[in-house]
């Protein structure tokens, strides 16, 4: 049976949410309700179920309603309409006492900015949930220390949160959530405030812990990479609505609409970047020069190949340094040593189609335009750099340098 069952949950912020919800039923858009009635639709008619032991990721950009949605799961925010069943019991209809019990025993929360109590030690923070339940001091301290050991902070029990690094603080946040031994963990952008390396580490640790604990985890994030890494299933949110729910593979392979598609595209840079965005300025020589000039040019630029072009910068072929020095000895011309079988690609070729050509080519890959004129050269390092997210030369820089090159040759 599903452990969490959300049915048509809607949240509207404003002085008169009930009237706004009727307008929503009449088909008014979120924008129109905001413009004409000054009410904000935070979450719009969202339904989903979560199975025990699942990591369910809710992902969306800021303002998509994901934080509001997760806060409705423990009623930090009351839904305007809809039902939210935890273990089959609708928490929306619960009275204060039952709700307190659910919060104390079944659902814990980890916060984006850690939300540790600055005046309490690490151990006192971790045992807070047990303290408000009235658990005896010795017992709750023992459980807190156990939870701290679980996240690798056993030695820090008596420190204050301010003495810990961000990553350690969030481990304390996680330990505080685990100390109650809840069934459900709500993690609201729990790793977003951490720097990327620590974030990866925390993701791995969470997955490791999850193997042992088998909690049900609702994980909020705006980072698709994070969602794909840790989610068993992902719900994509936009403007308060869920756009698609599925496993990471399903979402990658069959994006439900353009919005999801755009999201998914962003993941794989090799499917977005083109040859033009990673190519470098080509060193060229015209065919009527001698091999000595070619060698000199190569020495000057510190490269071992030159592209041979005609007067109109049309690509003829490539010469190597070895061949050129041989030609100098034997008294041959460039015409005799030019290799005409050069791997060429068009500027708009996507990177992932480029990998194969690059990996097998012994010669540099030339980028030529529709008129067979050379516009750039692909260097393997630049491809890897672009995938790693390093900036590449801009188009205008490229053109400038090409123009200079024309003057030289």
């Amino acid at each position: 049976m599903a452990i969490i069952e959300v049915r048509q949950a809607t949240k509207i912020f404003g002085p008169d949410p009930d009237s706004a919800i009727r307008l929503l039923d009449e088909g008014w858009s979120k924008e129109r309700i905001y413009r004409e009635r000054n009410h904000t639709v935070g979450v719009n008619n969202v339904s989903f179920t979560v199975e025990p032991g699942e990591i369910f990721v809710i992902m969306g950009l800021s303002g998509s309603g994901k934080s509001t949605l997760v806060r409705m799961l423990n009623r930090l925010i009351d839904p305007t309409r809809g039902t939210i069943a935890i273990h089959g019991r609708d928490i929306v209809k619960m009275n204060k006492e039952s709700l307190l019990r659910v919060r104390r025993e079944q659902i814990s929360m980890v916060f984006q900015k850690f939300a540790l109590f600055p005046h309490r030690t690490v151990a006192e923070n971790v045992e807070y949930g047990l303290e408000v339940q009235g658990v005896a001091k010795a017992e709750r301290r023992a459980k807190a220390l156990e939870a701290l050991r679980l996240v690798g902070l056993g030695d820090w029990a008596n420190s204050l949160p301010s003495q810990l690094s961000g990553g350690m603080q969030q481990r304390v946040g996680l330990a505080r959530a685990l100390a109650n031994d809840p069934d459900i963990l709500l993690m609201d952008e729990a790793f977003s405030a951490l720097d990327p390396l620590i974030r990866k580490e925390m993701q791995d640790e969470l997955l490791e812990l999850q193997v042992k604990m088998k909690k049900t985890i609702i994980f909020i994030t705006h980072d698709l990479d994070e969602a794909l890494r840790i989610g068993d299933r992902i719900a994509l949110m936009k403007d308060g609505s869920v756009v698609q729910i599925g496993t990471p593979e399903e979402i990658m392979m069959n994006p439900a609409n353009e919005y999801v598609e755009r999201f998914v595209e962003d993941v794989d840079l090799s499917k977005v970047l083109t040859a033009a965005s990673v190519m470098r300025r080509p060193e060229t020589i015209s065919l009527d020069r001698g091999p000595r000039v070619a060698l000199q040019l190569m020495r000057e630029s510190g490269i071992s190949n030159l592209f041979v072009v005609d007067r109109g910068r049309k690509l003829i072929g490539v010469i190597t340094a070895d061949d050129a020095s041989e030609a100098v000895r034997d008294g041959r011309s460039l015409e005799d040593i030019v290799i005409r079988d050069v791997p060429i690609v068009k500027p708009d070729l996507l990177l992932h189609q480029l990998f194969d050509i690059c990996s097998t080519a012994r010669l540099p890959v030339a980028v030529v335009d529709d008129n067979e004129r050379i516009v750039g050269v692909i260097v393997r390092g630049a491809v890897l750099g672009a995938l790693a997210g390093h900036p590449v030369q801009s188009e205008s820089e490229m053109e400038e340098e090409v123009a200079v090159d024309v003057d030289v040759s």
């Binding site: 919060r103 929360m109 916060f111 109590f117 709500l186």
Partner: protein
Amino acid sequence: MSMFPKLPLDEWIEDVVDGLVNNLEPVFNVVTVCIESVVHGIADLFHWIPALVLILLFTALAYYLGKWKFALFTVLGLLLIDNLGYWDHTVDTLALVLTSALISIVIGVPLGIWCAQSDKVRSVLTPILDFMQTMPAFVYLIPAVTFFGLGVVPGVIASVIFAVPPTIRLTNLGIRQVPEDLVEAADAFGSTRNQKLFKLQIPLAMPSIMAGINQTIMLSLSMVVIAAMIGAQGIGADVYGAVTQIKTGQGFEGGLAIVVLAIVLDRMTQNIVKRKRRGSNV
């Protein structure tokens, strides 16, 4: 002169005051007895302890709360007061100020908490506090005398009315300034309202609350001379007497005693917060 006759506001107020005096006299009597016994209790205790011993006690407290410089100032300042012959009156004044501060805290902190928990309460209370602070303090003396007669009690009452607003305001502010995500965390782990208040909000609001209490003590000290006009004992009476008889020297001595007392009380209350913060950072 005018198309409309003057509103008989003064008569209405007097009617209300008369009505209160006639109907609530037993209540006022109880309040008078309570306040008098607190003031006299404190004053008697301080009078009973020999001046030098008390000065040493204050110095020790100053050293415990602050640095040796503050302790040095305390011992020299208080010895000067004793030397000038104002020790007994200073102790009377101290009793009056401490009583006002005590009553202000007992009333102000809970009101401040209530204010922080309800926007409605805040919107009602804020203009009342503004009124209390801006109305010239002398005005409170008149009904205070009507209700409580002459002496120290109406002085205490007027001081409290004048001095309680900072405690209410800064308690409210301190609690409202507790970061939202911490309040959310407390809620998410199933705290009741009181658990949230005592385990999170009040501890974090403590510096702000103490700043309010500090302000309250300073304001009630500023009421000392005014309270003397209706018969409250203490250095205030000396200063007031000096004013009526144009004795500049005596007025200055009395004023100096008040300044010393003010500085000692101010630094002590400020250092309580600092000391706490230092303690929690170790």
